[in-house]
Symmetry: C2
Subunit: 342 residues, 2 copies
């Protein structure tokens, strides 16, 4: 049967000061009236029933996430420590197989913005079908709308059928010049939307992933803390997909974006006639292309361009949009009494 795994970890620093360790971005209504985690669940309706949706997250977020999503308690998988996407997806896939030996797994992230839910479900169906038919790890490629240097790329290879292709190679986050070349040559974004059968994934991990493979017996023994303390953190891309010969890619015909930074909201949310994105009581005079968020206190801006301005949780942030991706580095420079949120 089909299962879904939603990755919903994250430390909550990318949308400081709005996001907090207990209220991270995936629980915030950053892109609309629902949080992206809730949107992810809604998007799966008709594709995977709720009782087969697993969520992997951390202990700080887990209680609120369970409450917001309304999933069965046993479907919230709480990682004892964050160890990147590899161990998280291996554990969740193992869990699915424990409950269903024939489990087919779709993996997605809780912080995506996707506009066309029907197209998403259609692509997910194709990815799952491909995973079963060819016994491969299947990734969904998104036709790039810009030469983004923050995403990985997939260079598709030969056709397996009308939909699926082999993977010629993966390209990790490229330079600006390489991103342009990749985009021009027909490479796709590696979205992180994956499909596999539990059996194939666990076989591939056992074969190719020394960071995780020796520790798999702990999962068999039900020793989750032991598994997480024993693995070496590694992403599913680097640790499994890029090393496997059993991969395939299907194209995703939907608008996909990673709600990764304040700057991303300028791509994702509705802009005013001068390119500004605002939330809350915000008044702009002669401003262009700003992202402005207030959780309560009115904000007045004049004559600014390309700035991120936020007031939330008793903190105020003003930075150029171009620095939004470096917010973690900025926070690292702050004294704890300013950085840590009440």
């Amino acid at each position: 049967m089909r299962w879904a795994v939603i990755l919903a970890g994250g430390s909550g620093s990318r949308f400081w000061p709005l996001s907090t360790p207990t209220m991270p971005k995936q629980l915030l209504p950053l892109t609309g009236t629902l949080s992206t985690a809730e949107q992810a669940l809604v998007r799966l309706e008709g594709l995977v029933p709720r009782e087969r949706v697993l969520v992997v997250t951390g202990p700080a977020i887990a209680p609120r996430l369970e409450q917001v999503l309304g999933l069965p308690h046993e479907n919230i998988l709480v990682e004892p420590r964050a160890a990147s996407t590899g161990p998280a997806l291996v554990w969740a896939t193992f869990e699915a197989r424990q409950r269903d030996p024939e489990a087919e797994v779709l993996s997605l992230h809780a912080d995506w913005s996707i506009r066309e839910d029907a197209a998403f479900r259609h692509t997910a169906e194709q990815a799952l079908t491909t995973a079963v038919r060819y016994r491969r790890l299947v990734t969904v490629g998104i036709v790039p709308s810009r030469p983004d240097t923050g995403f990985g790329y997939i260079v598709p290879g030969t056709s397996l059928d009308d939909v699926a292709r082999t993977v010629a190679r993966f390209a990790e986050k490229p330079s600006a010049a390489t991103a342009l070349d990749l985009m021009a040559s027909g490479a796709w974004w590696n979205s992180g939307l994956f499909a596999w059968t539990a059996e194939v994934l666990l076989d591939e991990v056992a074969r190719n992933t020394p960071e995780i493979a020796p520790i798999l017996p702990r999962l068999d023994a039900g020793d989750i803390p032991g598994f997480f303390s024993g693995v070496t953190p590694v992403s599913i891309d680097v640790g499994v997909l890029e090393r496997s010969r059993a991969v395939a890619v299907v194209p995703g015909r939907f608008t996909w974006d990673d709600v990764g930074t304040w700057d991303a909201l300028a791509r994702i949310r509705r802009r005013d006639s001068r390119g500004n994105v605002t939330q809350g009581p915000v008044h702009l005079i002669d401003c262009d292309d700003c992202v402005v968020w207030s959780s309560g206190d009115p904000i007045v801006l004049a004559d600014l361009k390309d700035k991120v301005v936020v007031h939330a949780n008793g903190r105020m942030l003003v930075i150029p949009r171009a620095r939004a991706a470096e917010l973690k580095a900025i926070l690292d420079q702050l004294p704890p009494e300013i950085r840590d949120l009440p």
Copy 2:
């Protein structure tokens, strides 16, 4: 005897959202630990005793001003309406003469920044002496440190003695080019620090100021509301000094500035090594020449230049320093629920 009149009116919009109608800039510690109104009073010590210091202000501020300054209740002169500096100084000078027919009056503003109090007192002595000796209205000229277009200028004329000179002419707020010419030709800023005897001022008003002269009998009758409803608002400069032939100027050898806008704080307060002025819990990363004020909530800024950033009274303001002088116009564009402070 010597009297001082401190002009402490003002609507409280220049330092929005920190200043409010009941807590305007002259009551805020904008330049140091004391408010500029308190500093003005301290600066007069040894020159004019407190019982002969009059303060002219509006009804919204009067109670707090009386409390903060600790002056006798009868020394707080509450204008029924704001009518510029002419009627205010005429009324206060009239009041001084009522209490002391030989009154000599020094007039100053509650929102000045002056660094050298001893030099201020020395100049004030010279101005008062000149006013009595030559029976003239005496203004103090400040040697300009920049070609400011926000101040009026005085072109000094012939010498009356070692200190005082006649006034060749007054130049109202000039263009940038004219300001440069004035500065180069030895003109001084018209500070607004004046000295006169009550007798001479009231004579000059009766002779030259049709906006006020016909209404003077209301003051004799003790009808202050009638006086203010009858006068035409006019500044002391335009209404009296610029029309009088009995004027003189003495140079002020002290650092003087008008704490008129957020931008002015960058001139007046201590700057960090990159030219920033901050107050409250503010953390700057790669910022230059910013003015940042927080009344409580921490503010984090990165990679900004020449900006004013303020959080106070539940409002947040971000504007270029170059727009600070236009803050009133910006506020006029705001909906009342954002502009009006709690």
